[in-house]
Amino acid sequence: MRLTTFRRALLAAAAALPLASAAMAQGTIRIGMTAADIPLTHGQPDQGFEGNRFTGIPLYDALTAWDLSASDRASTVIPGLSTEWAVDATDRTRWTFRLRPGVTFHDGSPFNADAVVWNVRKVLDRDAPHYDSRQVGLTASRMPTLRRAEKIDDMTVALITSEPDSLLPINLTNLFMASPTQWERLRAAAPTAEAAWNAFAATPSGTGPFRLTRFVPRERAEMTRNDAYWGTKARAERIVLLPIPEANARTAALLSGQVDWIEAPAPDLVPQLRARGMTITQNTQPHVWPWQPCFLPSSPLSDVRVRRAINLGIDREGLRTLLGGFMQPAVGTVPPGHPWWGNPSFNIRTDKAEARRLLAEAGYGPQRPVNLRVQISTSGSGQMQPLPMNEFLQQDLKSIGVNVEFDVVEWNTLFGNWRRGCQDASARGVHAINVSYAAMDPFFAMVRFYDSKMAAPVSNNWGQFNDPRFDALVAEARTTFEPVARDAALARLQAAGVDEALMIFIAHDVSPRAMSPRVQGYLQPQSWFVDLRLPSIR
């Protein structure tokens, strides 16, 4: 009898074990990020776009948003907390945004025009009590022309720019709306505004599909589904974010079942991940991995024939093989088929014979090879695998008579040098620089490189490119306000950039991810971001 009771208890315990385990794991997705720390949670994340991906978009909304609902087309801007917007017909520096009704922050306070004005002031008005220098660096640079906001009525605001700028709605995807009520409440108990923002980061309040429920600095952030969300609600009940900066550790964490999803798995371990049934995902990303030329007269890249020759001399498929398939060959700032692709007459491809012909036309040949110095980094966010990739290019370009020498610097140093320009001593006489960039927003994809007003140190026209034709194309794109016409103007700018080979276009990253087969419903859009409302866990 005693034995029977014991057996029953044992069977009951054994039966309960998987149930308990399943109940615990139900709806919780654990994500291993590449960041070394949890991105800032006060509404303007750091850690680049990985920050926006994990603590920006899930916790907050902006007036405009990225469409992350499809994987087979370019992600475009759609309404977010604003349902419609228009520029003033008489004063094109003034925009009107209608706000989405019935939206509340996580703390229950309403989202309205006052909240928009308050959020614009937090980064643009130095006299505002809640002005935060830390957020300025992370936000103002992504909205270069926005100057201020005015309330028109409870659900309408006017945004004023320094000059006519059709790109404003795209820029505004970066300004996340934090709750003024929550901040004021925390400010009452904090000695300074800075302390109040730190308290806000620990207990943030946005309007996003998730709310932060637990925050352990440097270790984990737990977000719970916001059941009062104004839009489609998330499927997963909870998302746990874990910073695991080392790629092998991240991959091991997935293989040992400590996480369900990792960003950027270690490339060498991808076959093992596949063998263990993990899903590997990738998609075109609005990202460019280029060599940005220096256009000073002393640079061989000031000659368009040399730039075109190098663009034609690169075996991008070979590079893709080197990376195990985790890249897309770049033949422009955006891939063909993108609304900004246009119709370039210069067809970037691998054609070494044509490359040699162009170099000969420019006066180069076996007796007089092109000697090129390129500044590169050893690693870095978005840089993919800079050392093996650049070494591949070095070897590959020898076949067309281009000798490449590298000036290898640390990532942070490369960034600093990028701001200073190729005329600066920091360039150490190099003819190109290898800094990858995001190409979601036309300002960051093209304007800052092609506009002569953006010449470093003002912005990232590192090569000091100066061509009135391109200045006019930029001006046309920024002053064309009808979206289809604006895209057409941007397409003309893109096509002209390809025709003049203003970059040595090499690769687009494809943002590889690996996840457990238990993760269901995940969709990888053509974006730096993902919609965390879609996945759930089985």
Binding site: G137, P217, F415
Partner: protein, 317 residues
């Protein structure tokens, strides 16, 4: 003794100042710009300059150092450029985690080192000696981050016995001394223990071998003391040197676990320093290095005091 203690504590002041200055200069000399911790790389120059002014990074270096030092002497290590959090708030939890890891690794390394070193010293020239010496040489020669990865592959990925990363299922804030949490400590502690184990083994082997050959041990044997009684005498004579080595090793473990903590995502000072270095987060770098240096100074002082207490022949001038 009290005078000696006071003098040693006073010595620590110029050391702290020198460490602070050295660390500040080192970070300034290193290429890169601390402003990159606050603004994205594509920020226009006007935004960069505005933020630089807001954070006081446009001031001359001596003034920046003086301002930092002024805060430090008041117990304020400053604010992280990257996160805006107080350096101390991140540092004190990181120190707790690193201490836990360092003590666990020391426990493994010192016990194994003493046992292996003692055996090797006692049985010099035998197979036991050779085996222990080989183990010790392997311990100091194997790169510990590599060993960490191998252990992860075997025990986490293949066998699924132990977790690969982190400080517990809920993070270090929820740490409890139960198996669910302790299992997270096992692999990083073993990885970190191999170097001190090797060094302690070799040190103890040398001392024990030397002491065993001294005349007083022969005399003890001649007097008919048991092996155990002779062993106690040998241990007493070996203890001061062994303690000095262990103290130094513990100090190294406190500050030298950057790679192991990164491999295991262990949220200690090593991981904190690693991210601060890559982000050029000067206040975090300076604060962490200063505190670790002071810890090292304190540990050395403690070892000196224990050595003096254990061996009265050691006179302090």
């Amino acid at each position: 003794m009290l005078l000696y203690l006071v003098r040693r504590v006073l010595y620590a002041v110029p050391i702290a100042l020198a460490v602070g200055l050295f660390c500040f200069m080192l970070v300034q000399i290193a290429p890169g710009d601390p402003i990159n911790a606050i603004v994205p790389p594509d920020a226009p120059q006007d935004v960069v300059e505005q933020v630089r002014r807001d954070y006081g990074l446009d001031k001359p270096l001596p003034i920046q150092f003086a301002l930092w030092l002024g805060k430090v002497v008041q117990g304020d290590l400053g604010t992280s450029l990257a996160t805006g959090r107080k350096v101390w708030s991140d540092l004190h939890s990181a120190i707790g985690n690193t201490l836990m890891l360092a003590f666990a690794a020391s426990l493994i390394g010192f016990i194994l080192g003493c046992v292996l070193g003692g055996l090797a010293g006692t049985f010099r020239g035998t197979l036991v000696d050779r085996a222990a010496t080989t183990f010790a040489v392997a311990g100091v020669s194997v790169p510990h981050y590599w060993l960490g990865m191998v252990l992860v592959v075997i025990f986490s990925v293949q066998l699924n016995w132990l977790p690969a990363m982190g400080a517990g299922p809920g993070g270090s804030a929820d740490w409890r001394w139960d198996w669910e949490h302790i299992q997270h400590l096992v692999l990083p502690a073993i990885t970190l223990s191999v170097i001190p184990m090797g060094i302690v083994t070799r040190t103890i082997r040398g001392i024990v071998g030397e002491i065993m050959n001294q005349e007083f041990v022969v005399a003890l044997r001649g007097k008919g003391l048991t092996r155990w009684n002779i062993f106690v005498h040998v241990v007493k004579n070996a203890a001061p040197t062994a303690l000095a080595v262990m103290g130094l090793q513990l100090g190294y473990l406190m500050g030298g676990s950057i790679l192991v903590e990164t491999v295991f995502s262990w949220p200690g000072t090593g991981l904190l320093l690693n991210s601060a270095i890559f982000q050029r987060d000067l206040p975090v770098l300076q604060g962490t290095i200063l505190v670790l240096a002071m810890f090292f100074v304190g540990l050395n002082l403690l070892v000196d005091l224990v050595q003096t207490a254990l061996d009265p022949r050691i006179k302090r001038a």
